[in-house]
Symmetry: C2
Subunit: 408 residues, 2 copies
């Protein structure tokens, strides 16, 4: 059960002109489950992407990087159930075989197909099953299948994650729609597990890359469930140009900024959905670090708090055992941190200041905040003007259950 | 229940001439529990220490540092139940009041008393209760109370932790005895939660400090339960000289090396006991990283594996879902790691090589290792000659239960 996340109305997820989606069940891990997604892109579409920095990155990540660098993309093929990571040379071969078959079916070159996988690491990609199911994906291609697509890429996710926005670009109505999957092994580094965001605006290639990096820094790279950076993290931004807008290129232009903010907004919504549906999550926690000398030091403090198993289990128990937050701030790694200048708030309750518990702090007030499902930890370092916000969840019995039983 | 740790026979824990220990119940957190320890040191004793680098370090840590720097130590006073951390100026005042009272009772200056605390963070130290119980500690001072002392400093520990060694130094029989406490908030940084190691050898001050730093690097600084570095970590090495040995001073001398190795051995035993008694632990895991360019890169890989909640829950489930280990190696932070040169073994089973699963790998073999309670993960980076070993435990439902309920 995701935390404070009302079900998405499938009708609210808008089609993007120039993008069609087809779904099939390939029986990769479980029979009868829709686990294969084909995204078909009209000619003239531009794509940009960010990928995991995990050195054991998956074979499809390596291939996707190389394909989008060499050839305009015409299709993306995504499977759940098998990550095709930790599979060496053989994994690359298998990912390529899926691209070849997709190219044959859609009448485009292999390099115009961008592959993605998610699921168990160090298992062989079942190419035969996938290639046998691809024709069914082609037959079901439809512009209205975004919500079903979000469902097809789920692994331990409990809900499909999708979001849409519309805006005006150069006098034309433009749509931004995105989907994401991810629930565990979430501490994205350059991107999340898997996410696809598309717009029908026309955007120059450089501007598209700048835009997705901007959005990533403010969304997927600001979340963590368990601190484990996946081998398969990939986020793609697709611009079909089908809305016939003027080409968005100048990073300072009004059109660029409007579209960038809409893309960022969709990414933040998706990223927060990933945390709200974090494995075993019962609380959604915003860690906001202010007054750092730079973003780097705000970030290490925010992640120290967001990753501490002791802080996370205290939230799970709704126990205002808030000294654990002080301990995490203290070991985060700011060598010259003067703790006597640090203020710690739980929502609006001042917990600690001057190196210790605040005068007038009442545990009843803190308890009232801890009993909520959405909580903000605000840490003021008071030594500069940088700010970073990170979103995370608690650590529950259910997290252990899910991850002790994932393969069985 | 600690992992594979037979109960320590109290008779095996040897007294150290020049050290006496007294224990009392001060009712700090729970009535009727022995929670106060006084260690009395004969005149001429030298002490050295290492302390947490947590910036929110506890008041007693600040005071202990300052006292041992200024004055030969004559006593140590240790309470469990309250960490006196995150308590600001008032915390320093309270720790000092306990030292004052101890000094009055033992007829020494305040600065000759070294204070230590462990327990809940950001709560006031109950000075009145402690000072009222100190006379009972003095009355019970005895050379044979090391095992009882180990019990008095426990918090979430399920067993007392103590170890002894004897050796010959300059023709005299010498004893090294140590105790430690710690079970959660364990990722020592310069020292563990609390540990006291004493010898009756005579050791020069500089040599004593070198020796404890050497031992710490190979023991307490190589363990982690949950990655949370405590605010109160302190490790003290005490040398009374009561065995009338020649003074051990030269770091290259045979006597120095023999004593250093005995101290290290006691520290390694205590550190491993801390992990075996890690909160909720059901497995004891050795992560051995070999063939790194330097210890630093071995260490970041070892800790990435040892801290990964996904790796830890897989061990808990005895599930050879070993791709999670590859993912942790990949995101550890070696930017130029060539994963095709990395070998991963589970005990003697070669799991991964050449960037993927090893030829001839059999999950049955891996399952047989996973079913054990003591497991070694061996990672060969094959890019240098440095080696680091880290000891950790799994992440179980019981860990969540303990830490969700610690204060209640």
């Amino acid at each position: 059960m995701p935390v404070n996340l009302p079900p998405t109305d499938p009708a609210s997820i808008l089609p993007v002109a120039g993008v069609r989606l087809g779904i099939a069940g390939a029986g990769i891990r479980k029979a009868g489950r829709k686990d294969l997604l084909l995204i078909s892109l009209d000619e003239g579409t531009r794509v940009a992407g960010v990928f995991t920095r995990n050195r054991f990155c998956a074979a499809p990540v390596t291939l996707a990087r190389s394909h989008i660098a060499s050839t305009p993309a015409r299709a993306m093929v995504v499977n759940s159930g098998c990550a095709n990571a930790g599979t060496g040379e053989d994994g690359l071969l298998r990912a390529r075989q899926v691209c070849e078959q997709t190219g044959r079916l859609l009448n485009c070159v292999t390099e115009a197909v961008v592959p993605f996988s998610t699921g168990v690491i160090m298992e062989d990609l079942p190419v035969d099953k996938i290639n046998a199911a691809l024709p069914a994906c082609v037959q079901t291609l439809s512009a209205n299948a975004w919500f079903d697509a979000a469902e097809a890429i789920m692994t331990t996710d409990t809900v499909p994650k999708a979001a849409s926005r519309t805006l005006d670009v150069g006098g034309r109505r433009v749509t931004v729609t995105g989907i994401a999957k991810g629930s565990g092994m979430i501490r994205p580094d350059m991107a999340t597990m898997l996410s696809f965001v598309a717009t029908d605006a026309a955007v120059a290639g450089d501007a598209l890359q700048t835009m997705i990096e901007y959005a990533t820094r403010r969304s997927f790279n600001r979340i963590t469930v368990d601190g484990d950076t996946s081998t398969n993290d990939s986020l793609m931004l697709i611009a079909t140009g089908a809305a016939q807008t003027p080409e968005v290129s100048d990073a300072d232009s009004g059109n660029y900024i409007a579209l960038r903010d809409a893309v960022t907004d969709v990414c933040v919504q998706l990223a927060q959905m990933v945390v709200r549906d974090g494995e075993g999550a019962t609380k959604f926690i915003t860690v906001q670090v202010e007054g750092g000398r730079d973003e780097e030091e705000c970030s290490i403090v925010a992640y120290a708090v967001a990753h501490s198993p002791l802080v996370k289990t205290a939230f799970y128990a709704s126990d205002p055992n808030l000294g654990r937050i002080l301990a995490a701030i203290g070991y985060a790694g700011i060598a010259d941190l003067d703790v006597s200048t640090v203020d710690v708030y739980l929502d609006d309750v001042l917990v600690a200041t001057g190196g210790g518990r605040a005068q007038g702090y009442s545990e009843d007030d803190a308890q009232a905040v801890m009993d909520q499902t959405d909580i903000t930890v605000r840490i003021r370092l008071n030594r500069g003007s940088a700010t970073v916000t990170v979103w995370t969840c608690d650590l529950s019995h259910e997290y252990v259950t899910i991850n002790a039983e994932y393969r069985s």
